[in-house]
């Protein structure tokens, strides 16, 4: 324990607090909001959970783009239900974030003024209906791999939010895969649409797992604090192994010439990832990134009067009730 004393993140050192915190981690028990925790642990969680929440919110935008153009009423109802789930996911996560002493508005403002990030995957445009299928299948699929791991993270409220989210996510992935399946089994043009969507979304989905372990900046500390339970590369490999056979069944080709089953490793080998592109997109690069943030800011600012009015109305009603009770 004494070797932690000078460690970064433990500036708020408290002898009993540290002992208990370390004991909880060692016993695979959860840390709860009012327990003592290192400042660095709190900071890391706030950054990660808020970033995760923002991703759920911004992730609704590319899908919302297709609500009015869904090919059937059934597809529209399904997409609406999925998007509504994502709004719920954001709420679970903002709530988890608030247990760490941040306020909701602060967190949201950090997204709007560009201090906080969200998953770069949502800075890609959704060009065709097939993209909506690819998002559910690949993007939600990749998110599930990450979120299943996070169900075991050491912070109680985050782990509980993840459990709830994971229960809802499997419908997201299946509805996406069903869209792609229908297209892949359709006319040659439809099959081409499905293939092109896979081409567009495959590499960005692999990038969702973040930089390689050798280059990940927060990886180690996050692993020591049992927030992250599996490495980026490990999760990415798991996703590839899971998804390649799903593409094969549909007769679609994963856009990677180096992709092949490695009998010895028991895993697929895959080609190098273009990290320059990743970094460019991560910096909010491109017109889509600007469009996403503008849409968020507009929704927030246009809704301000509604938030104010609802609060004022509730206060007035409360005052009226109190006056009536006093009579």
């Amino acid at each position: 324990m004494s070797d932690l004393r000078d460690k970064k993140g433990y500036e708020n050192w408290d002898e009993a607090g540290v002992a208990r915190f370390e004991a909880l981690l060692a016993a695979e028990e959860k840390v709860e909001p009012r327990d003592w925790m290192p400042d660095g642990y709190r900071k890391l969680l706030v950054r990660q959970i808020s970033q995760h929440a923002h991703s759920e919110v911004v992730g609704m935008l590319p899908e919302g783009n297709w609500l009015t153009r869904a090919p059937t009423l059934k597809r529209k109802a399904v997409l609406l239900a999925k998007i509504q789930d994502e709004a719920g996911h954001a709420l679970y996560l903002y709530s988890a974030c608030e247990t760490l002493g941040t306020t909701r508005d602060e967190t949201i403002e950090a997204l709007h003024d560009g201090r906080a990030k969200y998953s770069s995957i949502f800075n890609y445009p959704t060009l065709t209906w097939a993209d909506i299928g690819a998002i559910g299948w690949l993007v939600d699929g990749a998110a599930i791999v990450n979120q299943v791991m996070l169900c075991r993270c050491s912070y109680g409220p985050y782990a509980r939010a993840m459990e709830r989210i994971c229960k809802e996510e499997s419908f997201h992935q299946r509805q996406g895969y069903e869209i792609v399946t229908k297209l892949a089994q359709g006319t040659p043009e439809q099959k081409k649409m499905a293939q092109e969507a896979l081409n567009r979304w495959w590499w960005p989905s692999l990038m969702m797992f973040g930089p390689h372990d050798s280059e990940s900046t927060h990886g180690n500390q996050s692993t020591e604090w049992k927030i992250k339970r599996r490495s980026n590369d490990d999760l990415r490999q798991h996703f590839v192994d899971m998804t390649v056979p799903q593409a094969e069944i549909l007769g679609l080709t994963v856009p990677d010439p180096d992709l092949k089953w490695n009998e010895e490793r028991g895993h697929y080998d895959f080609g190098p990832i273009d990290w320059d592109e990743f970094k460019r997109v991560l910096k909010g690069g491109g017109p889509v990134g600007r469009e996403r943030l503008n849409a968020r800011r507009k929704a927030w600012e246009d809704g301000a009067w509604v938030r104010e009015a609802a609060l004022a109305h509730a206060e007035k009603r409360r005052a009226r009730r109190q006056a009536a009770a006093a009579e």
Partner: protein, 97 residues
């Protein structure tokens, strides 16, 4: 006025998943009053029939035991092992006890 000073109050949400079970804490949300909290809780926490009854409690009304005094506060139970059935010897052959 800065938005943060006008934040909606925080509510803790409890859901009874079916008759016969107690209400269980499922999460929280922000709402201007109890009515809105209940409606939003329905939309956020029972989209798949996870519940048949909802309680909402304004978070500022909840009082909790102190995590720092967890030890001394709960310790008195430690030396009263006679509160557990396993404390008692029952002769061999005795059944239904």
């Amino acid at each position: 006025m800065p938005a943060s000073s006008r934040e909606w109050p925080l509510w803790e949400i409890f859901v009874r998943s079916r008759q016969g079970l107690s209400h269980k804490h499922v999460g929280s949300l922000r709402a201007v009053d109890a009515e809105m909290a209940i409606q939003n809780a329905r939309d956020v926490y029972t989209r798949r029939r996870e519940g048949e009854s909802i309680w909402v409690v304004e978070a500022s009304h909840i009082h909790a035991s102190q995590p720092e005094s967890r030890g001394p506060f709960f310790d008195p139970a430690d030396d009263k092992i006679y509160r557990h059935p396993t404390f008692y010897d029952v002769p061999d052959g005795v059944e239904n006890m």
